[in-house]
Homo-oligomer: 338 residues x 2
DNA sequence: TTGTACGCGTTATCAG
DNA sequence: CTGATAACGCGTACAA
């Protein structure tokens, strides 16, 4: 027994009357040990309630069966539920997920990356593709397998599993335009250090341009991804001399805020103004009217990410990216303009 | 450099022209080393981008600067944002949070506890106080510091930091009753393995009993904590021969579902039926009308939990529990009955 | 103030 | 098939 009174390999070995090497083999290469001794060892393990010491294991094998994930914040449901899936999938393979948050700050992210690497994660999952070149340099120098989630871009040379934010937003804007809207405003997320937010805005802007429309102030506004900022932004839009007939939001949270603003202004959605969201979190279905929004297959994304990162960690080899398709889910916050 | 090409203490020592012991001291006991050598060492550390190796550190010091948390699921915003706070607080003290989920299953929780202990967590945070005696036995045998969150009960001999679910629900029910309601229904969470859900129901039931009212089927129904189950349950309640004038929900998610049901039934809230929630997550403010609900100071709870678990891990001594007060936040989903 | 040397629990190499 | 034994990276007496 050691200081922390947990049984060690040594304790097991002594009890089973074998060497520590044999016990270790029972655990890692069970085929290489005789059946009778294996049973003896297993009995000893059970009797002592032995669990391998993580530190020793990490030191000797240089593997931790851990992958790290750094997300902006768990307070955004889209990331929280993404993590949940990732975690469930990884644990199926006996891998623990280590979570850290960056609060949308590239420097904090870099710090967290170091912290997770220090803990010997076998792989790393990051959100989005935009980050300082030094961060990528660091990652490749260290030869840590890593992949990018929530983004799908051919610009990036790194493995990513996600969807095309630009395309999805473009599609949504086209959808709105085809419904007859011409006065379209957008409440986008803060673009600083957030490629997803920027691409969504760009997607909408491009679709509009292609239809002879222009997305610009005061019809374009950036805010934090919170209900209240979404509400405040929509309030201003709706008070404009010529208010928009449709507001496209950077995510469902902002859209819920916009809904709130419309309601407070005594406007009916979608009769007086149409509002659409992005992400399709539970909230989109909870509000009244239900939000027409972009559905992101987050479970599939989590599952694929788990599969790929495990593969990368095992083979220490690059792996092809995966693009997930999004689709628009029609509820009742968008109506035709005649 | 070692196999994984990460710099080690040795690399730093060599570059700085000192021994590994000195480098180690710079990190752990900075006062015991001369200023000039300290700067030299720090320069070396910076140049190499050195980060201590987790395994080595854990092995040598028998500490991991890690605390584990096992929550039911991250998909429930109340836990996700609780984790976020916990994580932010812990990282202020250089501690990493290791998260696992039990999906409300005591057996899964026990398994996760073993997994986290195997990883040498310095402390453990669990949700609620109801779990098999063996689990507590295991925890105390192993002498792991642990505390219970989201609950505050004098029944439990273990340290807990949270609020009194029974009292909070009782208060809410009294509040509803004082507003003149007599036909009160409750949509509670599934009580199996969930003491918080059970206590909330009991609190409502007791308040009603004290006022000559009885909470029973079909006015009492248990469902999962999802929007859709909340909606379905409310739909049935509203279709009753004498529908309730007020529905008290086990949490805001269920309340949002109930709101949905009322809307679908063509009823106005709170004019035709009052609906109240519990937790005060963002959703409560996002829906229309805003939910009158029980506000849980989750940031404070997270902060206190972080403080206590650190203290317990450091001193290896028990610590007194902390009760957090909740309060009712009045929005507009509850009205007076004349 | 600094350096030497050992031990922490495990894996892996190499003989037997 | 099994057993010694040398790493792995770090903290910490103990010595200088």
């Amino acid at each position: 027994m050691n200081t922390s009174n947990l049984p060690t390999l040594d304790d097991v070995a002594r009890l089973a009357g074998v060497s520590t090497a044999t016990v270790s083999r029972c655990l890692n290469l069970p085929d290489q040990v005789r059946h009778t001794t294996k049973t003896r060892v297993e009995a000893a393990i059970a009797e002592l309630g032995y669990t391998p010491h993580f530190g020793g294991l990490a030191l000797a094998s240089n593997r931790t069966n851990t992958v790290g994930a750094i997300i902006p914040t768990m307070e955004n449901a889209i990331f929280a539920r993404g993590l949940q899936v990732l975690q469930e999938e990884l644990s199926l393979s006996g891998i623990t997920l280590l979570v850290a948050t960056s609060l949308y700050d590239p420097e904090k992210e870099a710090k967290q990356i170091r912290a997770l690497l220090g803990r010997g994660v076998d792989g790393l999952i990051l959100i989005g593709h935009e980050r300082p070149q030094e961060t990528y340099q660091f990652l490749t120098d260290r030869r840590v397998p890593f992949l990018l989630m929530w983004t799908s871009t051919t610009d990036s040379p790194y493995c990513n599993v996600g969807f095309d934010n630009h395309q999805a937003a473009y599609d949504m804007a086209m959808h709105v335009i085809l419904r007859g809207h011409r006065q379209i405003a957008m409440i986008g997320g803060t673009t600083k250090g957030n490629d997803r937010a920027r691409e969504r805005i760009k997607g909408v802007s491009n679709a509009m341009k292609q239809n002879g429309l222009k997305l610009q102030a005061p019809y374009l506004v950036e805010t934090e991804y919170t209900i209240d900022e979404g509400r405040a932004a929509a309030q201003k839009l709706l008070a404009l001399h010529t208010p928009p007939t449709a507001i496209i939001c950077g995510n469902d949270v902002q859209a819920a805020g916009a809904l709130k603003a419309a309601h407070q202004a005594g406007l009916k959605v979608p009769d007086d103004v149409s509002i659409v969201g992005f992400d399709d979190i539970d909230l989109a279905e909870a509000v009244e009217p239900g939000l027409t929004t972009v559905h992101v297959p987050h479970r599939r994304m989590g599952r694929e990410a788990a599969r790929l990162i495990i593969q990368m960690a095992r083979n220490r080899a690059p792996v092809e990216s995966i693009r997930i398709d999004t689709n628009i889910v029609e509820r009742s916050s968008l109506r035709d303009i005649s």
